[in-house]
């Protein structure tokens, strides 16, 4: 994509986010729902398929281009990005990374337009940080499969049309896992009521249970060759997803810095703007510095991803740093706002709650530390 086209896309998304979504943020949080008009506008714009290749009806952004787009999306409630995050990200990428071309042709064009909403079902009640121990099982049944088990905190499950389900088809450990595309209306598949969360109102997650769910042979991602390849597919999806989430954190940090600076200028104490007090200036400076560092780390990881030079360490570094960074920036934003920052109705109070999730999902900070350290230390890390 040439620079002028990307600029035009970024400008369009920026206008949409700031003019249409930002004014609705408080309502989205309060009512735990993104209005249908916003979902439809996002669909028409093409936001459900920006990371899906043009050959399948998407925009085919590179990781670097995607990060710049996600910086814009991050400026408002993360519930917006969550609408189409799984289509572009972890769920759509299951097909890109692991599916046969026939499977991609069948599903990706509809995922790219948003006609189909796809969810990524990996996490289980007893397999979160280390999903290689997952226990949802798929056993052969004629030429198809029968799936039994339970998944937890599955983003977009309440609205999904298809779920990318990781299930054990072989022995214990990572090598025994395969991925399946399971229609949400398959008999025996049940989506629980959506979770009540601390923040990110409007972004829906739910438990999903599988009680003897029958699927045909076409549901196995990668066809016959896909048996036992689910784990490596999932890990490649997560590498992309981690940079994406890191970019989202940077976008939110940008908003928090804007909120912080605006308040420091406007709020007066002792006859002066609070921005005249040096300790407030210190907090503003720390947040601006954090934001710059976060943006640089994410763009560097994206460049390495696009080059193919690092898809292991840099995604974890970016996700680890950016999620911790936005946590610090949100904390300072509340601090600069003082008592008002603790009140419902203030944007920084909402973002403070929203930001907390970033250090947990798509791999906790501690898991990122392990990935980073084990990759650089090598065999010695395993004793």
């Amino acid at each position: 994509m040439d620079a002028a086209e990307l600029d035009e896309i970024l400008r369009t998304v920026r206008a949409f986010v700031r003019d249409r979504v930002v004014p609705l943020e408080a309502q989205i949080d309060r009512e735990d729902e993104v209005p249908v008009v916003i979902r439809d506008a996002a669909k028409e714009m093409g936001l459900f398929g920006f990371a899906i290749p043009e050959a399948y009806g998407g925009l085919g952004l590179t990781m670097t281009e995607e990060c710049r787009l996600v910086f814009e999306l991050g400026y408002t409630t993360p519930a917006l990005r969550s609408l189409f995050g799984s289509n572009n990200g972890i769920a759509g990428h299951v097909l890109l990374e692991g599916a046969t071309d026939a499977q991609r042709q069948r599903w990706l064009p509809r995922i790219a337009t948003g006609e189909v909403v796809a969810a990524f079902a990996l996490t289980e009640p007893e397999a979160g940080s280390d999903p290689s121990g997952l226990s949802t099982a798929a056993r052969r049944d004629g030429d198809g499969w029968v799936i039994d088990g339970a998944k937890r905190y599955i983003t977009n499950a309440p609205v999904a049309d298809v779920l990318m389900v990781f299930a054990r088809t072989g022995g214990p450990g990572a090598g025994g896992i395969s991925a399946f595309m399971v229609p949400a209306d398959a008999p025996g598949l049940r989506v629980a009521p959506k979770d009540a969360k601390m923040g990110q109102g409007g972004a829906w997650t739910a438990d999903v249970t599988f009680d003897a769910v029958h699927v045909g042979p076409e549901a196995l991602v990668g066809g016959d060759g896909g048996v036992g390849r689910g784990w490596s597919t999932a890990m490649r999806c997560l590498a992309h997803g981690r940079i994406h989430i890191a970019a989202l954190c940077v976008g939110m940090a940008g908003r928090l810095v804007d909120e912080t600076v605006a308040y420091a200028r406007a709020r007066r104490q002792s006859g002066r703007p609070i921005g005249a007090f040096q300790l407030v200036q210190g907090m503003v400076a720390d947040s601006v510095t954090d934001l710059h560092a976060g943006r640089a780390v994410v763009l560097d990881a994206a460049r390495a991803y696009d080059e193919g030079s690092d898809r292991r360490v840099a995604p974890s570094v970016a996700k680890y740093f950016a999620s911790e960074m936005v946590g610090r920036v949100a904390d300072r934003a509340v601090q600069v706002h003082g008592g008002a920052g603790y009140m419902r109705g203030m944007a920084v109070e909402r973002f403070y709650r929203d930001a907390r999730l970033f250090r947990i999902y798509e791999g906790t900070s501690q898991i990122q530390q392990l990935i980073i350290a084990r990759n650089v230390i090598g065999d010695a890390a395993r004793g």
Binding site: M1, A4, E5, E8, I9, T12, A15, F16, E44, M45
Partner: protein, 259 residues
Amino acid sequence: MHVVVCVKQIPDPAAPAALKPDTRTLDRSGKLILDDSDSYGVEMALQLAGNVEGSEVILVSMAPGGETSGLRTALAMGASKAILVSDDALAGSDALSTAKVLAAAIRRAEPDLVIAATESTDGYTGTVPVQIAELLDMPSVTFAKRVTTDGSTVTVERQTEAGYDDVESPMPVVVTVTAGVVEPRYPSFKGIMAAKTKPVDVLSLADLGLDPAQVGGAGARQEMVDVADAESRGAGEIVVDDGDGAQRIVAFLEQLKVI
């Protein structure tokens, strides 16, 4: 039906603006974007064209340096092609010389309907559209807040201070629309990608058969003689509520004729 939309490309209002020291006119040498006021006209044109089979929306613009960034935005929204007049001799144009150039370009598009914003965001003269109508010998209807057409007649609700007038006009006609009358669509990503392959006809004054002495700075009858800082606002009146605060607010609003 050919619907022509006059589209101005202006310096981004979000960026600091500068005046050229010699002519005291706006410096347009940087990147230009679609004037937000014109996005309403483009949207209106797309809606009207969508209702009459076989219609197309054609953009007409005048800008220095062959600038097409703003046009691409309107093409991405759905317009089918554009005519851009760009010529060094157009520097220093006033409203009338702009109207002469745009009228010549519009004529080439064989319009049934010409839509323009009431006024631009950077110049605010608000006179170009009616001058175009005069030059093209077309009727003009200004301040439209609602427009419908059957392809041969336009029916317009024309905003007035008291409400609106119902106006009907034969076509071709020039209609100016006020901001906020329709919700401009956001260009889709596919629309943005498609816009780069849509035709933009870049014309010089010679292509239009216009004499450089009659337009641009040479033909301008208007000269910017001085620019002064606006007076800073004085402090507002502070009213102490002695129990009659509400009545005094009402009286103040009545004085402003807002209630």
